[in-house]
């Protein structure tokens, strides 16, 4: 310890902490610096943050005060996984490659081969399984509501109680075209004449070739996948609902009621 020379009578400046020397007592002293807290305590000594109130949902703000607020039930994670394709580019690319290889292999198979029958049945089973797995809780409407709405639309058009709109005229046009196709196909099948080919025979002329069978099988498979996975709640509808008026993606005044109608 180093020896310090000081005049006689002077006191040592090394006073105990918290106790001022005798010659400085009664004078102003700067406030003591805050005592640093030990680091090992971490945030235990910190002041607890003031809890913030959760922001009001947009749909709640749009509702009038007297309207009951029902929170939106988000679809299961599987539904959100299926359709945000830009995030799943790698998975989609692999699936497309595997599907293309499968369609090319299917094009090489004969119509009566066992491998062809097994692969078609396996494809149907896979698509139905995908539809059941991905569609749970993701349907836009209940089946009963859907059937009732369809029946009411047909009955209203038949009774002509409502003025025909453009949508009704378009639906009527589709009914005419599809009915003509199905009706003529059934007539040709019933007549069984060579001059009256059925629709199956026309497609059979395409599937006789390997490339035609492969391309048609690819189109059939793609359409089946769309029927199984497409147009579900909380998926692709967010983009199109703004135009169609379905509030699944964009909250609106009727969003809570519309969500109740879905499964």
């Amino acid at each position: 310890m180093a020896h310090v020379d000081r005049p006689r009578g002077a006191r040592s400046t090394c006073a105990a902490p918290g106790r001022r020397p005798q010659h400085l007592r009664g004078t102003w002293a700067a406030p003591a610096a805050p005592v640093p807290r030990p680091r090992h305590l971490g945030g235990a000594l910190r002041k607890a943050p003031v809890p913030r109130l959760a922001p009001m949902p947009e749909e709640r703000r749009l509702l009038p005060n007297h309207a009951p607020y029902r929170p939106v039930r988000h679809p299961p994670a599987l539904c959100r996984w299926v359709w945000p394709l830009p995030r799943r580019i790698a998975v989609l690319g692999i699936a497309v490659l595997v599907g293309a290889a499968f369609c090319a292999w299917e094009g090489l198979q004969g119509r009566y081969s066992t491998a062809s029958h097994v692969s078609i049945l396996a494809t149907i089973a896979l698509v139905l399984t995908l539809a059941a797995a991905a569609g749970r809780g993701c349907q836009r409407r209940r089946s009963r509501t859907w059937a009732r709405a369809a029946w009411r639309a047909v009955r209203a058009q038949l009774s002509r109680r409502r003025a025909r709109s453009a949508a009704a005229a378009g639906a009527l046009g589709w009914v005419v075209v599809i009915s003509a196709t199905v009706g003529w196909d059934a007539f040709s099948f019933a007549m069984q004449r060579h001059s009256l080919p059925t629709l199956s025979r026309l497609f059979g002329a395409v599937t006789d070739h390997e490339w035609g069978r492969a391309l048609l099988f690819a189109a059939w498979l793609a359409f089946g996948l769309y029927l199984a996975l497409g147009w579900r709640r909380g998926s692709q509808g967010r983009r199109a609902n703004g135009r169609l008026g379905d509030p699944a993606g964009a909250p609106s005044r009727s969003s809570s009621r519309a969500h109740e109608d879905r499964v």
Partner: protein, 64 residues
């Protein structure tokens, strides 16, 4: 050209014309609206999938 070929050509032309019309005229529902009308519920989706499965089996597994 047989009668069947003529009729099928006319039906195909009607399909093509109606597709173009529904695509051009905005209020008219297109083919995607017709398909989505079936996909709105489980019942319609099952009906569409059953028709799809039957068509595929008939087209690729049976003699057309």
């Amino acid at each position: 050209m047989t009668v069947g070929a003529i009729v099928w050509t006319a039906i195909g032309a009607a399909w093509l014309a109606w597709l173009v019309v529904t695509r051009s005229v905005r209020p008219l529902p297109g083919i995607e609206s017709v398909v989505r009308a079936f996909l709105g519920s489980w019942l319609g989706r099952i009906v569409a999938l059953a028709a799809w499965a039957e068509a595929g089996w008939h087209l690729f597994g049976q003699r057309p």
